[in-house]
Symmetry: D2
Subunit: 378 residues, 4 copies
C-alpha cells in the first residue's frame, strides 16, 4: 500500500481490506476456525479452543512488521504465526493450534477471505459505474452526437448509445466477478494434501472449517490446482477492460477541441487555471493499465510443482493483491468520473454539424438504449 | 502459422481452422449470410443473392496473399473483399454486397466463427486430457508416492491424488471455455453501430444474420465493448494454466533421479541414445507459456476508442489467433503426454522409502480420487 | 506468418527473413559452418565437407512442412535435419554432419542469424522514421501549435518540438537495437555445454565456427544464460515504445475536430467517402501493441533449467519471431505514416487561438529542435 | 510496501528507498533544487531560497498520508505539495516555489532520484550474487556432476561450469543496469515542455537544476519520450532473468532425490522437521516472477499522448516501484541463497554414476570456468 499514491489510483477502500492488518486478521481468523472445526469433530477441549481464540484475537491486532521479520526464514507468515500462537496458549493448548494443517491451507484460505472482502468493495463500485452509465444512457438516448470510428467522424449516433455500450461492459464484468467470488472456496489439505492428520474425519473437518468461515467447502484439495486463481485473474482483467473503455472515451470527449463531456469536478492546475482535466477518468485509466501485466503474472505462476509450488505459489501473493487494488481503484475512480458527468448536447450538435446537413439519422441508437436498459441484470 | 514449428507446439489442428484460408472462408461466409439476411427482410432479389453466394464461394478459395496485399491501404481485408465481390457480381447486384454493414461487422463475426471453430478443437483435446487424467487417477488411486512440497519430500500421497488435481483443473478449464464459446455472438451494427442503414428493420436483420450463421444474436452492438474478448482471453489463459500444471509435474517426475513416470514415446537424441525426454510434456509447457503474455495483450487492447478502436481493434487479431493456437497446442501436446503415460509404482515406492519407515499413511488420498471421479462433469 | 494479415501490420519484410524458409536456410547454413569449422581443426576431409555443403544447400530449399512433421517427435527441427543430412551424404560422410554438436547449438545460432537479419530490416526502418521525424522537426521548428497535457490545451509549443520528441525516442531505440544486434553471438557447446567432443580443440572450433558465419564468437557457452535474449527483448520493446508514441500522436492530431495532420495516403471507407483514416499510424499502433506481452513471454521464459530448458527454451522461438515481426511491422508502418505527413499549420493556429490572445510564447521550443538536430547520431 | 510480506520477497532495502517517505523527500528535494537553480540564474533572492529550503525540509518529514489525500483531486502529489509549500513560505516567497515548472518535471525528476537510489541497492546485490557465483565456479571448476538437458541426465559437466553460467548472466545484468542508471537524467520543461517561463535562460536553468541534484542534464525535454523508462524496465527485466536462472537451478539441485546443493540456512517446517527447503532461492524465484508482467505494463504505458500522457504517465508510478522492488528483492534473496551454498560433491558423483562407467569426460568445463573468471568485469 501507499498512503501517498493510493488516493490517486482510487485504491484506498480495497487497500483497507487487503493490507497487512487485513492479512494478519485473516490469518488469525483462519487459525481460529481451524481449531474450532477440529474441536467439533475431535478431542480438542473447549478450554483449548478458548485459549486459541483469545490468543489469535490478540495476535490479529499486533504489529505485522514483527511477524514479517519472522516470516523471512520460512518464506511465509504462517510458520511464525503458529509458533507465536503456540507459545501464547502454552503447552496445554499448543496441540490445539494449527492441528494437522499446513501453511498453504492457512494462506490460501486467508487469501480467499481477502479476495472476497475486496470483491465486496469492487463489485458495488462496478455496479455503481454501470448504474451511472445506465442513467446517462436513459437521459441521452436520443442526444445526437458524431459517431467516430478510428477517431474520425463517421455517422451520427447518440450519446445514450455510447453510454449503453459502457454499461453493457460494466454489467458483464460485474456479473463475471460476482460469479467467481461466489465460488471461491476454503482450502484444507494438510502437509501433502491428503488430509492425513484427520483421517478418517478429513471431509467432515473440511466442511466444518469452511462453515466456520462462511466459505464454500472445496470439492477437493486444490493446493496446486490454480485454475481458480486464473479465473479470478481473468475476471479482474475483464473488469479493468470494462472500466478502461468509458474512461478512455471520457478523456477523448473532454478534449479541448471536442468538449462534449466534462467531469463534475475536473482537476485543475496551479499554473493554468483554464484547464479542466478529467482527472478521475485519467486515473481510472492508469489503475486499469496495471491489470493486464498482473493477470499475466498470475497466469504464468499457475503451474505449481507437484504438491506445492516452489516460488509460483509465493508469486501469487503480491500480484493478486496488486490486481485487486488496480481493478478496485479503476472502478472507484470511474465511479467518480461517471457520477455527475456533464454532457454538453450543444457541443455534440456543433461537432456533428461537420458531417454536413444530409448525414444519416441516428438509426436504432435510441432503440439500442431501450433494449440495453430492459435487459439489465437486477 | 509455421509449417516448420506448428507440429512441435501441437498447433496444426488449430492452425488449420485459423489460418489465412480459414479467415478468407469465414469472411466470405459472413458476407453471404449478410446478403441472405438482408434479402429476407428487404428488397434484395433472389438473383442477386445467388450472384453474391457464387462470387463469395469462389473468392473463398482464391489466393489470400492477393487480398492481403490489397488490405494494407485500408487496414483490414474486408475493404478489398467488398470491392472484389462487387466487381464480380456486377453492377446489377453490387448493392446486394455488404449492404449497410461496416468492416468491423464482418471482421468481428468472422472472428467469432474462427474462435468457435478453434474452440471446437481445443475443447475436445482438453476433455481428452481430463479423461486421461481421470483414468490415471482411477488406476492409481492408492499407488503411494512421496508428496513433494517446495520440491522436497514431505509426506506420502498417491499418484491418483495428483492425477485428480490435474483432472480437476482440466475439467474446470474445459467447462469455462465451453461456457465462453457458447456465448460468442455475431456482430452487426453498421458504420457507427446504430444499424442506421436498416432502420426500422435493424433488429430483425441482426436476428436473421445470426441465424444464417448459427450464432447467437447479440444483445446489442458490441463494436467497442470488448469484455467478450477479455472473457475469451481469460478462459484460454485458464486452459493454459490447467495444461501447464500436469506438464510440469510430468517433466519433474520423469527426471533421471526420480523416474516415476515416462511418456509412451519419449523424444530421443541422436547423440545420446539413453535419453528419454518427455518431449510432449516439454512442448506442452512451451505452448502454454505463450498464453500469459497474449492474454495481457488482449486485455491491454480492450479500451476501443469511441465507435471503433484506432489500433486496439486491429491489435486483437494476431494476438487472439496466437492465443487460440497456444492453448490448443498445449492441450494437444498434453493429450499425447498423458495418453499412455507409464507410471512406475516401484520407483515411487523406492523414492518414498527415503521418508523412513514410520512416515504417515496416504491419508484420504484415495478418497479424494473417488470424490473427484464421482463429481466429474459428463 | 500470414499472407492475409502481414501487410496490414507491415510485417512482410521481417516475415520474409524469419519465415519457415528463412529458418530452414539458417539451420542448414549453421550445419555447413560447423562442418567447415570442424574440418579446419580436425580430420574431416574435403570431400566430406563438400558432400555436406551440397546436401545442406539442397535441403535448405526443400519443403519445410516435411521437416516440420518430423520435428514433432524430438521437439525441434534439428534432430530430423541431422538425420536427413546424414542419409543424404551417405555413410562415408555421415560423421562430418553435426560433429559433436547438440540441437541447441544449431537452433540458437540459427536464431542469432535470423534475429540479425530481422534487425537489418528493422534498424533502417526505425532510422528512416527518425529521419522523417527530424525533417518534420526542422521544417516546423517554429510552427506554433497548442501544447496539450492530459489531452487538454495547456500552453503553446511548436510542431517541430513534438517531432523532435518523436525523433529522440526513435534515435534512442535504433541505437539500442544496433548495440544489441552487434553483440549477438554464435552458440556452440555440445551436448552438455562442455565442448567435450572437441577437447582440447573446443575454443578453436568455436572461433572457427563463428568466423564461418560472420558472427561474434561467444565468451562462453550460453545455452542456459538467457540474459542476451532478455536484452534483445528489451530493445525490441523499447523500439515498440518509440514507434507507438508518434503513431498515437498522429492519430490524435488527425481527429476530425483537430485536423492538424493528415497522412499522405489515408485509408478510405467504401461506405463513407469523407473519411480520412490515418491508417498507417493506426496499424503501427496495433503492431507495437503486440510487443509488451511478447517481451513478458520472453522474460518469463528466461530461467532455463540446468543444462537445457525443458520448455522455456522452446517457448522462446515463436515469441521471439512474433516480437521481431511486431517491432518491424510497427516501424515499417510508422515510416509510411511519417513520410509525407501533411502538417496543417493553419489548423494549428486556429486551434491555438482557443487559448486566447495573451497566451505565452512557444518559449524554447525552436531551440529544443535545433539542439535535437545538432545532437543526432549519424 | 508491505511490512508483512516484504521480508519474504527480500524487498525491505529497496522499499526503504522507494516508499512514501522516500517519495516525499525526493519531491521536496526536487522543489528545493529548482528554487536554488532559479535563484542562480534569476531574481529569486537568498531569503526566499532559504524559506523554501526550510519549508521543504519540514514538509519532507510530514505525514505522507495527508499529502496523499490532497493528491486525489489533481491526480498527483505535486499539486498539493506546491500549494502547501507556498502557504508555508508566505506571500513574500510564494513565487520562489515551483517557479515555471509543471508537476511532471517534479515527478519525473523525483522518479529518477528514486530509481537511482533503488539501483544503488540492487546493483551491489546483483554484484554480490555474481561474486558468490564466481567463487563457487572457482571452487568447483572441476567438480564433476551430471549435465542435465530437458531435465534428463545427458553428459558430465562440472558444477563450476554451471556456476560460471550463473555468474555470466548476473555480471551482464549488473552491467546493463549500471549503464542505464548512469544515464537517467533530470527532467525540466515547464507546462508544455518548452521551458517558456524561463526563456531565454531555459537551458542554463536546466543545467543548474540537474547539477543541484547531481543528475545528468537531459539532452532535451523528455516528458513524453518514454524510451528511457522502457530501457530501465528492460534492464530490470534482464536482472530478474539473471536471478531466476540460478534460483531455479538451486531448487532443482536441492530436490530430495538429487540433493547436490543445500542452502546454508534452509527453511524448516513446523510439521516436518526433516524438510530442508531452499527458501531463499524459492522466494528469489517468486520475486523475479513479478518482473515480466511489470515490464509489460511499463512498455504498454509508453505512448504518452502529445505533451502529457493522460493515464499512461500515472500508470508508470506503481509499476516502476513494484518492478524495482521485485528485481531488488530477487537479487537480495538470491544473494542469501548463493552465499554459503553447500555443494555436495559426493552426491554429484553418485548421481553421475547413473550415466555408467564409460561416459565422456567433463571436456572443457574447467576451461570455461577459467575463461569466465578471467573475463569478469572489475
Amino acid at each position: 500500500m501507499s498512503e501517498l499514491f493510493d488516493p490517486v489510483f482510487g485504491a484506498e477502500a480495497v487497500t483497507a481490506v487487503t493490507d497487512d492488518r487485513a492479512w494478519l486478521r485473516a490469518l488469525c481468523a483462519v487459525e481460529t476456525a481451524l481449531t474450532r472445526a477440529a474441536a467439533r469433530i475431535g478431542s480438542i477441549d473447549q478450554a483449548a479452543v478458548e485459549a486459541v481464540e483469545k490468543a489469535a484475537a490478540a495476535l490479529a491486532e499486533s504489529d505485522p512488521a514483527e511477524l514479517g521479520r519472522q516470516s523471512r526464514a520460512g518464506g511465509n507468515p504462517v510458520i511464525p504465526l503458529v509458533t507465536v500462537l503456540r507459545e501464547r496458549v502454552g503447552p496445554g493448548a499448543a496441540d490445539a493450534v494449527h492441528p494437522g494443517a499446513t501453511s498453504q491451507d492457512v494462506m490460501d484460505t486467508a487469501s480467499t477471505l481477502i479476495a472476497r472482502a475486496a470483491l465486496a468493495v469492487i463489485g458495488p463500485d462496478l455496479s455503481a459505474c454501470a448504474d451511472a452509465a445506465a442513467d446517462l444512457a436513459a437521459a441521452h438516448r436520443a442526444t445526437a452526437m458524431a459517431g467516430r470510428t478510428l477517431m474520425q467522424q463517421a455517422e451520427p449516433t447518440t450519446f445514450g448509445a455510447l453510454a449503453a455500450v459502457w454499461g453493457a461492459g460494466l454489467d458483464r464484468a460485474a456479473a463475471g466477478l460476482a460469479s467467481v467470488a461466489a465460488a471461491l472456496p476454503a482450502q484444507l489439505g494438510g502437509a501433502a494434501g491428503t488430509l492425513a492428520a484427520w483421517h478418517p474425519h478429513g471431509p467432515a473437518l473440511v466442511a466444518a472449517f469452511a462453515a466456520e468461515l462462511g466459505l464454500p467447502a472445496p470439492d477437493g484439495v486444490w493446493h496446486t490446482d490454480r485454475t481458480r486463481s486464473a479465473e479470478l485473474a481473468g475476471a479482474l482483467g475483464t473488469a479493468a477492460v470494462a472500466v478502461a473503455k468509458p474512461a478512455t472515451d471520457i478523456v477523448l470527449l473532454a478534449q479541448t477541441e471536442v468538449s462534449e463531456v466534462h467531469e463534475a469536478a475536473p482537476g485543475g492546475s496551479s499554473a493554468m487555471p483554464h484547464k479542466q482535466n478529467p482527472i478521475a477518468a485519467i486515473t481510472a485509466r492508469a489503475a486499469a493499465a496495471q491489470a493486464p501485466g498482473l493477470v499475466a503474472t498470475l497466469l504464468a505462476a499457475g503451474a505449481h510443482e507437484l504438491q506445492r509450488g516452489a516460488g509460483a505459489w509465493h508469486a501469487e501473493w503480491p500480484a493478486r493483491t496488486a490486481l485487486l487494488r488496480a481493478a478496485g481503484g479503476a472502478a472507484a475512480r470511474l465511479r467518480v468520473s461517471l457520477t455527475g458527468l456533464q454532457v454538453d448536447a450543444d457541443a455534440m450538435a456543433r461537432n456533428l454539424a461537420r458531417l454536413g446537413p444530409d448525414h444519416p439519422s441516428t438509426g436504432h441508437a435510441p432503440d439500442l438504449v431501450d433494449r440495453y436498459l430492459r435487459g439489465r441484470p437486477r
